[in-house]
């Protein structure tokens, strides 16, 4: 298995601003296209839970749909387990499943069982194996008793869970979840999160790529997160590396002054995740993100005062993931 189970390399995607026969005839050869993704690259390791977050229109769904083979990129490549999605799409679709939790992706007038039988067969299952898989996946998502109810009688949460069950039918290595807890009540949302983290990734070792607008969900669940801004990757890393999550603490420190040597010394302190400095006359303001080790702060202060610089104040900063996210996706952030 390659180092990265999913490799997304220099993806660029534009979409036409108008579709259909008449725009095509009217504007043949010159329909404008808007940029959805611009040179996006990242890798997802096997068994990793990787989050994709971003504002509406940032390109989250486009990435997922390219990986699932439903959108063709203008440029760039997607490899799954070393297989190029463009040259071997069927082989990739056996390894990747986009869990369409959109409730319009099922046949409303069929029962959950009939829907799963159809999609399971299309995924390559049949007979006893198909029946066994259906029984197993509906048990996992707690829908066993509802298997013979028509899909249009399902609640939003049940529809979402059935979408995940369908995704699991073919036992894919890589699951793509597009907002799996959208329109789900908090109790079932927590249940779905626990299922994704503990069952899919923890017990079954699946690789999961999850797009979400719920930032706490991403910080809580994901091993690493890519933050998209206008079709580009604005930041990528673990929640701690991005400055949020339970493993990161923030401080605002005011000191007498700063120079390049101070910056070099403080950045070299183990456990410093991020450090920014803003000089203001005789004072300088440090904003630091540290790991949760208590001695990291002690070591940092020791490095600051090594040349006789005085620390005037130190104040812990409480930042919610939403604040960090807003910083990361804002135009000022670089």
């Amino acid at each position: 298995m390659p180092a990265d189970y999913l490799e997304v390399d220099q993806l660029t995607k534009t979409f036409p601003t108008a579709v259909g026969l008449f725009p095509w005839v009217r504007n043949i050869g010159r329909i404008e296209r808007r940029v959805a993704l611009d040179d996006v690259s990242f890798g997802v390791r096997g068994g990793e839970l990787f989050g994709v977050v971003g504002a509406n229109g940032a390109g989250k769904s486009t990435i997922l749909r390219i990986v699932a083979g439903l959108v063709v990129p203008d440029r760039g490549t997607v490899r799954v387990d070393g297989i190029d999605a463009r040259t071997a799409p069927l082989a990739v679709r056996r390894k990747v499943v986009l869990c369409c939790t959109d409730d319009r992706s099922f046949y409303y007038r069929l029962t959950a069982r009939r829907n799963l039988e159809y999609f399971g067969t299309m995924a390559g299952l049949d007979g006893a194996r198909l029946r066994g898989r259906i029984a197993e996946v509906v048990r996992l998502v707690d829908l066993t008793d509802d298997l013979d109810r028509r899909f249009d009688a399902f609640s939003s949460g049940m529809k979402q869970r059935l979408g995940i069950a369908r995704g699991l039918l073919g036992d894919p290595e890589l699951l793509i979840l597009d907002e799996p807890t959208r329109a789900v009540d908090p109790v079932h949302a927590a249940s779905i999160r626990g299922f994704v983290r503990n069952e899919l990734v923890g017990r079954r070792g699946k690789t999961v790529v999850l797009a979400t607008n719920l930032l706490e969900e991403a910080w809580e669940l994901c091993d690493r997160i890519a933050v998209l801004r206008r079709g580009r990757v604005a930041a990528i890393g673990s929640p701690a590396a991005l400055g949020v999550g339970p493993d990161a603490v923030r401080y605002a420190i005011t000191i007498d002054g700063a120079d390049d040597a101070l910056l070099a010394r403080t950045r070299a302190v183990p456990g410093v995740i991020d450090l920014a400095i803003d000089a203001d006359g005789a004072c300088a303001h440090l904003r630091v993100v540290l790991d949760s080790e208590p001695r990291t702060l002690t070591e940092l202060l020791r490095a600051v005062s090594a040349n006789g610089i005085c620390v005037r104040s130190i104040r812990p900063e409480e930042r919610r993931p939403a604040d960090v996210f807003a910083d990361l996706i804002s135009e000022r952030s670089q």
Partner: protein, 271 residues
């Protein structure tokens, strides 16, 4: 699953899906069969106004009822070929299930061809029902050449399926109801000799009629009803076979290209 078993299982699954969906609309399903009865009865009454003629029997004197009923029955197959693929793809677009289907490890050609399985089964049932009701009104099966009939039914389907697949490709590409169905169904009624013999048309329209697969299919099927062999109708059989060989690969290529283009434009799930 491996070899041929996997595609056949997928065709079966698509057939069952479409059958269950259609039968979930019970009234519409039942009305389809009342329509057959009404159609047969209507033709029988019209035939009372038209005297028997050799023009209806390809040289043998035949009744208008016999002529028109066979044509109307088998033009159902063309309608199924033209509509089933487009309707199925269109329904999947509107339901929102098209992307979910195309995200499965299934060849797109199989997806579109399987979409016709239920419609053709239903069409065959309707043809059988039409002929069965026709027999109650006096339709004579004494001279039918079953081998020739089967050959021309198969050729009629294979030669018209590509037109339906192209129609589905247009739906995927442009998201709009295509004129293909309308043009071909109307053209069949006017030009293919469904309700009156082609020989009544002006020569230039007879030339247009020759271009339609359904004209040759109906010639062959009517001939088979009067005992003709495939050899007797070799020109019609050859026309249909050549059309199949040329058009089927082209239509599947067109459908695959339409899906690829929709994926490139990001419009696969739009309608």
């Amino acid at each position: 699953m491996s070899g041929l078993a996997a595609p056949l299982q997928k065709v079966r699954a698509t057939f069952l899906r479409d059958a269950r969906l259609m039968m979930s609309y019970r009234l519409a399903f039942v009305l389809e069969f009342f329509a057959v009865v009404a159609s047969v009865a209507g033709l029988w009454f019209v035939s009372k106004l038209v005297p028997p003629s050799a023009a209806f029997g390809g040289g043998h004197v035949a009744t208008y009822f016999e002529y028109a009923l066979v044509n109307v029955a088998f033009v159902t197959l063309q309608t199924a070929a033209l509509q089933s693929f487009e309707n199925s793809i269109r329904n999947d677009q509107v339901f929102g299930t098209l992307e979910a289907v195309l995200a499965t490890p299934t060849n797109v050609s199989l997806v579109v061809l399987a979409a016709g399985a239920w419609a053709f089964t239903l069409a065959f049932f309707q043809v059988g029902l039409t002929l069965a009701f026709g027999s109650l009104f006096g339709l004579n099966f004494n001279h039918v050449n079953l081998g020739a009939l089967a050959a021309f039914v198969v050729l009629a389907i294979t030669a018209t399926v590509p037109l339906g697949v192209i129609s589905a490709a247009i739906i995927v590409r442009f998201k709009q109801g295509t004129p293909t169905q309308f043009i071909l169904n109307r053209a069949a009624t006017l030009l293919a000799g469904v309700l009156f013999p082609v020989s009544l048309l002006p020569l230039w329209l007879q030339a247009c009629s020759w271009l339609l697969p359904i004209t040759h299919a109906l010639n062959g099927i009517r001939g088979a009803f009067h005992g003709a062999t495939v050899g007797d109708m070799a020109s019609d059989a050859t026309w249909l076979a050549v059309a199949t060989i040329l058009l089927l690969p082209l239509s599947l290529l067109a459908f695959r290209s339409a899906v690829e283009r929709a994926k490139f434009d990001g419009t696969l799930g739009q309608y």
